[in-house]
Symmetry: C2
DNA sequence: GACCTTCTCACCTACGTGTTAAGC
DNA sequence: TCGCTTAACACGTAGGTGAGAAGG
């Protein structure tokens, strides 16, 4: 059985307005030992798959250059040489494998992926990145073909990436403007939004 | 392609010790408008699947008799005639479809299924039951066969049920002993466990 | 009245945030 | 010292409990 390579596959980035608020400031994503979720969350919608065929969807993080970056005087500057690269598998979306009609039904969210700077992770949700290196998320769609009674083939049929979602991995935020945007739009950081509002009120008194 | 009907499939109930605490008292499960999780949670481990074949796993609730039950003087008594039966689809485990090797890797938990007494539900996790009727959970394993470019067949290959997990659906607990067991073993009910302990301490003072 | 259902509530579990101080 | 990382923390989101009063 041959893969149904559909020439009409398209992957659309959701929440593009939000991503474009971060992009011009150079976005940052926290990495921790246990793993930290991304914010904004990467979400896509997909069209053009064969509804009855089976697909697996993966998220990669491509290192976009060969620099270790430094934040100096409010500016990101490329350093001399990068840390040794990390070879790790991609994050496989937790609803994989599934039918084309499933993937096209609703927006696909990568909210469960966790970014970490520690190897030796058992969980399938953690992805290891080098801190202070620049990455670009990439989506790969592969078709799952049942070739015989004893095997399956996973054949890439589409790959795309989103420049708007580029970021530098950090262990603590460097740019205060990035921190402010994270607090403003991430519901889980509402504690700090309320504090800011209270401060404003106290200043007004 | 023919289904790989494996004669060696076996499904084992997990947490059997916990279930057998409830069984002799006649277990009860709450149904609510929004849907209520089961406790204990139904968990199984599966062996004997073909690792490379694809399966879907479903949970049914078989009505085990034709009675509407009543709790009178600390005893469950069968009533005369049951309410009209509800015809609804099964709960499909959220990791479906998936490979045999995936299902056999870890214990499979049905923690997300929610029991309700209201029809007209949009969610795929809610299962409608008749209150005061007796049910027995049943697991069905079906193999997914890609028959052609434009279709899949889902063929049942194994079905089993667990007498230990039988229960009567209720809108409020009838038997205080059942309530006590739920509080004792369900972490989400710890508030009431602490209250009991505090009461005991206050009595001791 | 008796029986069953519904709703609100306090109190938990579980975990996602940036902050801050300490560590290296 | 400086740059970066770690761990504890307060404070949110999100949602799972039975209790108890009210409703039908």
């Amino acid at each position: 059985m041959k893969p149904t390579v559909n020439e009409n596959i398209n992957v659309y980035l959701e929440d593009r307005d939000l991503w474009t608020k971060f992009k011009p400031l150079t976005n940052e994503m926290i990495v921790t030992k246990a793993g930290r979720r991304m914010f904004p969350v990467l979400k896509v919608s997909i069209r053009g798959l064969d509804p009855e065929s089976m697909y697996t969807i993966e998220l990669h993080f491509d290192q976009v250059d060969s620099h270790r970056w430094r934040y100096v005087n409010g500016q990101w500057q490329p350093g001399s040489k990068p840390d040794p690269p990390i070879q790790r598998g991609p994050y496989v979306h937790n609803e994989s494998p599934n039918f084309g009609k499933h993937w096209m039904k609703d927006t696909i969210s990568f909210s469960k992926v966790k970014l970490t700077n520690k190897t030796n992770h058992t969980g399938s949700t953690q992805i290891v990145l080098n801190s202070l290196h620049k990455y670009e998320p990439k989506i790969r769609i592969s078709q799952v073909i049942h070739t015989s009674k004893r095997g399956n083939e996973t054949i890439p049929v589409y790959t795309t990436s989103f420049p708007e979602t580029e970021f530098i991995a950090v262990t603590a935020y460097q740019n205060d403007d990035i921190t402010a945007l994270k607090i403003r739009y991430n519901p889980f950081a509402k504690a700090f939004l309320d504090t800011n509002k209270r401060d404003e009120r106290e200043l007004a008194d």
